[in-house]
Amino acid sequence: MTHAHILKYIVKGVRYDGRKFEDYRTITIEPGVSHAAEGSARVRIGETEVIAGVKLSLEKPYPDTPTQGNLMINAELTPMSSPLFETGKPGEQAIELSRVIDRGIRESKAIDLTKLCVKEGEQVWSVMVDIVTVNDAGNLFDAGALAAIAALKNAVFPEVKEDGTVEYAKKTDKHVPLMQTPITITVIKIGDKLLIDPLPDEEQALDARLTIAFNDANMICAMQKGGEIPLAIEDISAIIDLAQEKAKELRKKLQR
């Protein structure tokens, strides 16, 4: 689908699936989808499907942060989920996705890393969140971020044996300390129109993209611009207004 073709319809206010510009497709959040993980969730936005899983392990802290646990967010764009994704090392798209989601969680201070400290300078918990795509029908940013935070909400610590090793087969009822539930919203600009929840064709045709994470107070806590066309201050302001409204909607879905 060419940019010109998409634009022709966007200007008329028409999207391929008949949605309004500011409407999400149907969103479902399903926590606890993998028994093996310490926490997990499946998120569907329309036909887009991602699974996020949390793994916990005991590690030695970094020398410069002896009282803090570690947080790592990784995204896998599996070749299973789109004909455009290839096997092998993560490409720049996967790296950007994981880093943008990482910043939303880190900068909202969603996880109090000091609470992950077991023994100062010796043992801390590492929280590893992996986001895996099952079907890419667009908007992996919002789906991935939502899955990551839903999986963290679902995560519990495993038991620790007397010798200090982790007993993965046994889970406690102690949840990973979550202080905030950041919500990530992506708005794209095609021509002079702003759209949310883009389809793959719309993503291909976008001029600019702005992904914004909001904390519980609905304040901006992380942001990333994508796309090749620069944005004016008026654009940015309008995008923030739209995203902020949508963040309220998504937060409700997550709390349900």
């Binding site: 993980a37 310490e38 997990s40 590893m128 992996d130 099952v134 079907n135």
Partner: protein, 261 residues
């Protein structure tokens, strides 16, 4: 004994020690820990067409082992030097999601284990396909596991066969796969992670093609007398037919004519 999913997740050494101990003095295992009979399969679920972006797809669940399979192709094969002018080729990729193992996180990317399994999967599936119609092309099969409890390659093959059918490829039959077990002279079907890793039951993954009445995957880890193995394979055929029915039903569910109200 099989390097189980748990071991793959970084507990290889501990499990090996466990198994050696189990071998030295074989513990009693008078009945299955989850209450199943020796020949019983775990609860199964199958669904076809779960990944709309793919040309064909399926999900297969057996107990707490879940496999997704997506088929792309026949499509152009790159790099070009891998192309075969006589026939299309089948390429499988087996991958455990990083959080899918019961031990530590599985590092993303291929491992020796996943590469071997990928190869065995394509060998298990190829006998039912005829890719001569598609020279220079590739049919890609991607298998991803969100949760594992042993028998992952078997669940992967079972899902992949359904996905190939969903993709509309000409097939001689389905391929149906499960993991058999042997312990203290006892034969059992569909062993789970506890039985594989903690009890130390010999793991015998098989794939069976009903119309050909032949096996296209056969592996064995452990000591098994020949007579027991032959008995075990006979049982495997019978149990494979139970899985076959689940596969067929899943395909029928997708392609059945919608009922007119």
């Amino acid at each position: 004994m099989a390097i189980c999913a748990m071991a793959a997740a970084g507990r290889l050494r501990a499990v090996k020690v466990n198994k050696m101990a189990a071998k030295a003095v074989k513990q009693e295992y008078p009945k299955r820990h989850d209450g199943r009979g020796w020949e019983d399969l775990r609860k199964m679920e199958a669904k076809v067409g779960v990944i709309p972006r793919a040309d064909g797809s399926a999900m297969f669940r057996i107990g707490h082992t879940v496999a997704y399979a997506a088929v792309y192709g026949p499509r152009d094969l790159h790099p070009k030097f891998m192309q075969n002018p006589e026939t299309g080729i089948l390429r499988c990729r087996y991958n455990m999601m990083p959080f899918s193992g019961h031990g530590e996180r599985v590092r993303p990317g291929t491992s020796r284990r996943s590469q071997e399994i990928s190869m065995l999967m394509s060998k298990a599936l190829l006998p039912v396909l005829d890719l001569k119609e598609y020279p220079k092309s590739v049919v890609d099969v991607f298998v991803e596991l969100p949760e594992t409890d042993a028998g992952t390659r078997c669940a992967g093959i079972t899902a992949a066969a359904m996905a190939l059918a969903d993709a509309g490829l000409m097939m001689k039959d389905m391929v149906t796969s499960l993991s058999m077990g042997h312990y203290n002279g006892k034969i059992m079907a569909d062993i789970d992670g506890y039985e594989d890793c903690d009890v130390g039951i010999s793991d015998i993954p098989i794939a069976y093609i009903p119309t050909l009445d032949k096996f296209s995957l056969l592996q064995l880890d452990g000591e098994v007398p020949k007579e027991d193995l032959l008995k075990l394979l006979t049982l495997a055929k019978k149990k494979a037919m139970d899985i076959y029915k689940v596969q067929q039903q899943a395909l029928k569910d997708k392609f059945a004519e919608p009922k007119v109200k």
